[in-house]
């Protein structure tokens, strides 16, 4: 395993709160690493509503989710944050020297005196269909992503969903699968029209089976799927052979391992004080939608304020004994140098 990464601050979550925290920390010469389970920065802004307008960001009368994130990325560029995408914060332990060691789900280790949890409502994970016992098949026969296409060669494959992932994998796996069945709740799809047309051609040619139906039950043993029961809207049920099931319903947010971090969660939120935005564990801070305090509002703008105050407190932990000089970006040549503008 590679050496642990040592830095000033590890931020969990690369949404707007986490990104702006990089800026506030950077002004104080504190280096940050960000961890995010998604494959790109932006959190909910880019995952849920990249094209939707936001009207309550101060001084930006209207900005889309994606544009806000792009602007934040531009703003924090001078501070050269390190992003660890596709990684989930899995464990947090206190080291004898008082610093924290954060371990990700891939085994990466990051050591820092300050951890900032800016995780919003938690981690984006695939939506799991409410089919009894589905957990037992996950990883062996039920997959929420395709890593190796070969794994589906010669199998009876069932795909559920009506978006781009469902249609793309229907088109890609149909030629190598023994059989491919697509089920969706309607005979209409939000996926790209050309993918839908191609799928319909395969159905007409007898190479893909399509049913307006839902998956009712899974049958198999020891995690190995053998067949599934489908149900139509008329409640009629029937069974088909399936050794692999790929449900594609996008992502949902689950709190995830943060629940085990021992930070006194209250209704899945981290209670913090409003002077430092520190949790009950010294050195672990929280900002944005994941925290609670009297009067808390889940607004992006609130997270910016929270990030600024957190950074001041984080400085004293990262640079004990050093005097914090409060300066304005407008007038301080020192800050302007850090920003690369003077």
């Amino acid at each position: 395993m590679s050496e642990p990464i040592q830095t000033d601050v590890v931020i969990i979550g690369a949404g707007p709160a986490g990104l702006f925290a990089v800026f506030e920390l950077g002004l104080l010469d504190l280096k940050a690493h960000l961890i995010d389970i998604l494959d790109r920065p932006g959190g909910q802004c880019t995952e849920l509503y990249p094209e939707k307008p936001i009207y309550d960001i101060p001084a930006l009368p209207v900005v889309t989710g994606q544009d806000l994130v792009d602007r934040l990325l531009e703003q924090i560029k001078p501070f050269k944050p390190t992003f660890h995408h596709g990684e989930q914060a899995a464990g947090l332990t206190k080291l004898p020297d008082g610093r924290w060691k954060l371990t990700t789900n891939s085994g990466k280790e990051l050591i820092a005196p300050v951890i900032v949890i800016a995780a919003g409502a938690g981690s984006f994970v695939p939506k799991r269909p409410p089919i009894p016992g589905i957990e037992a098949y996950e990883g062996t026969s039920v997959h929420y992503a395709v890593r190796k296409m070969d794994a589906f060669a010669g199998k009876n494959v069932l795909i559920a969903g009506g978006g781009d992932s469902a249609l793309d994998w229907t088109l890609n796996l149909a030629p190598i699968a023994k059989s491919l069945t697509l089920v969706h709740h309607r005979d209409g799809f939000r996926a790209q029209t050309h993918s839908v047309n191609q799928m319909r051609e395969l159905v007409a040619a007898g190479k893909v089976n399509f049913h307006v139906a839902s998956v009712k039950a899974l049958h198999g043993q020891n995690g190995q799927l053998a067949a599934v029961t489908l149900a139509g809207h008329d409640k009629k049920e029937w069974q088909i052979d399936a050794e692999a099931f790929l449900p594609f319903f996008g992502l949902t947010i689950k709190l995830g391992p943060i629940a085990e971090f021992g930070i006194g969660l209250h209704e899945n939120l981290i209670p913090v004080d409003t002077a430092k935005f520190e949790s009950e564990q010294p050195g672990i801070f929280g900002i944005g939608d994941i925290i609670t305090y009297p009067g808390k509002l889940k607004l992006i703008l609130s997270s910016f304020h929270e990030a600024a105050l957190m950074a001041q407190a984080a400085f004293h932990i990262c640079r004990p004994g050093e005097k914090l000089r409060f300066q304005y970006t407008t007038s301080s040549s020192n800050l302007q140098k850090k920003l690369g503008v003077s």
Binding site: L48, Y49, K52, P129, G161, G188, F189, H233, F249, G250
Partner: protein, 102 residues
């Protein structure tokens, strides 16, 4: 106006409706576990409800955006709607909805 909501355990509760609020907001205000992750932007499909027959037909039909978004919802039925797109009004007095599974 009243809304009757059945939770995932099958318990029905009566909610005092507020004109102009969405059903999603009313359900959450009543403490029901509706995720509504995107906060009502019709962007996440986690506020799905089943609308009781008779009431479903009275609703303004789903816009294309909602129909598209329902493709990402789980366990969709012919009477599924996203509750963030249903606005309370006098015409909906007495509407009955059931929370879809998570």
């Amino acid at each position: 106006m009243k809304i009757y909501a059945t939770d995932r355990e099958g318990k029905e509760i009566e909610i005092e409706g507020r004109e102009g609020w969405t059903i999603m907001e009313m359900l959450r205000d009543a403490g029901l576990p509706v995720a509504a992750e995107c906060g009502g932007a019709c962007a996440c499909a986690t506020c799905q409800v089943y609308v009781e027959d008779g009431w479903y037909e009275k609703l303004t039909p789903a816009a294309d955006m909602e129909v598209d978004m329902l493709d990402m919802a789980l366990a969709v039925q012919p009477n599924s709607r996203l509750s963030c797109q249903l606005v309370c009004s006098e015409e909906l007095d007495g509407i009955k909805v059931t929370l879809a599974p998570e």
